[in-house]
Symmetry: C2
Subunit: 203 residues, 2 copies
Amino acid sequence: MINKKSTEDLSTEEKIKEAARTVFMKKGYSATRTRDIAEEAGINLALLNYYFRSKEKLFEIVMMEKMQKLFGGLVGIVTDNDTTLEKKIELLTIYYIDMLTQNPDLPIFVLSELRNNGEHLIKSLPIGNVLQQSALFKQLQVNRPDINPLHFIINILGSTIFPFVAKPMIQAVGNLNPKDFETMMEERKKLIPRWIRSMLQTK
Amino acid sequence: MINKKSTEDLSTEEKIKEAARTVFMKKGYSATRTRDIAEEAGINLALLNYYFRSKEKLFEIVMMEKMQKLFGGLVGIVTDNDTTLEKKIELLTIYYIDMLTQNPDLPIFVLSELRNNGEHLIKSLPIGNVLQQSALFKQLQVNRPDINPLHFIINILGSTIFPFVAKPMIQAVGNLNPKDFETMMEERKKLIPRWIRSMLQTK
DNA sequence: GTCTATAACCTGATAGAC
DNA sequence: GTCTATCAGGTTATAGAC
C-alpha cells in the first residue's frame, strides 16, 4: 500500500486537486462552489485561487484527467497489432466494466460536462485519429466491409458504458441494490464478447 | 398545422414553460438562471415566480415531462400482448431512434439531472413495475430463461440511446457532421433488431 | 504559503405601483 | 396580470496581514 497516501500526507496543491475531483464529480461544474472544494480540502478559499487562479482553470485540469481516464485506457488495447479481433473485444469489455465498477459516475460526468462546459476540450484528445488508424478499426473493416466500423465501436462502448450512465434508472426498474447491480455487470463481462461476436457474424 | 401555435399565441404561463424547457434542456438545472428563462420567454422575471413560485417547482414540471418523454413511450410497445418478441424489438428500435433524432439532447439531460437534482423523481414513474410485468419481459424469459431479461432491455436501450448520449464524442471520433450522424442512426434502425435477434440465439 | 476580511458581482425571490 | 425596483443572501476572486 505504498502508493496510497493518506490525505494528510499530500501537498496543499494536491489536496485541493483531490477535493476538486471529488466535488466536481459529484455535483458537476455549475453546482460546485469553490467553497465546497476548499472545505473538502480542509484549506481556505483563498488558497484555491492562489494555486489555480480560478474555478474554471481548476475544472479544466480535473476534466482533462477524467476524459483521459474514460477514453485513454482503450488506446493500448485497440492499437495492439498482436491481438486478434476477438481478444480485443474481450479485453475492452473487461477493462471498461472493471474500471467503471470502480468509477461508476465517471461517464455521466464526462459526457454531460462535455456538452455543457467542455466541448472545446474534445479536440485536446487525439482519440479520433488513434481509433481510425487502429488495428481494431482495420480488423473490423476486414471482417465486415459492409458495415461502418464505428457501429461496432459504439456497440462495445454502449454495452459497457451505458449501464453506468443509466445506473439510477436501471436500479429502480430492476429493483436492484448496489450489490445486484455489480453482479449484473460482472455477468456482462462474459455476455458482451459473445454478443459482439455474434453481431459480427450476422448478415 | 392546427396544433402548432406560434410563440406569440401562447398564454404567458405556457410561454414561460416553453422557455424553461429550452433553457433547462440546454444548460441543465444549476447553470440555468431564472433570468435566462424570463428573457427567453420575453417576459419579466417577477412573472416567472408569480406563475411557478420558484425555480425548483418550474424545473420539476419540466423534468417530469422529459422523463415521461424518454421512458413513457416504451410502455405501449412492451405491454402489447399481440406482438411477437421480434416485432417489439423492431418497434422499440425505430421508436427510440426516430424520437431521439428529433430530441438528441433528451437522454443526457434526463440521465444527468436524475443523478444531480432528481433521484427522488424516479419513483414518480411506475416504469419499474410496468416493465417487470410486461409482455416483453415474459417473452424474453421464455426465450432465454438462462439470462436476466434486464440484460436485453439494457442492450436495446443502450444501442439506441447511448449514441445520443455520447454524440459529441462520436462525432469527433468519427469526423462526422450532423448529417453523417443522422445517416448512421438511420442505419442502426435496420442493424439493431438483427443484432438483438442474434444475441437471443447465441448460447 | 496561509489566513481573514472584503470587494464586486450575481441570483432567486418579493414588494408594491399600475 | 404585468411591470420596475430592490432585498437578502450567495459566489468568485482578491487585497493585505502574518
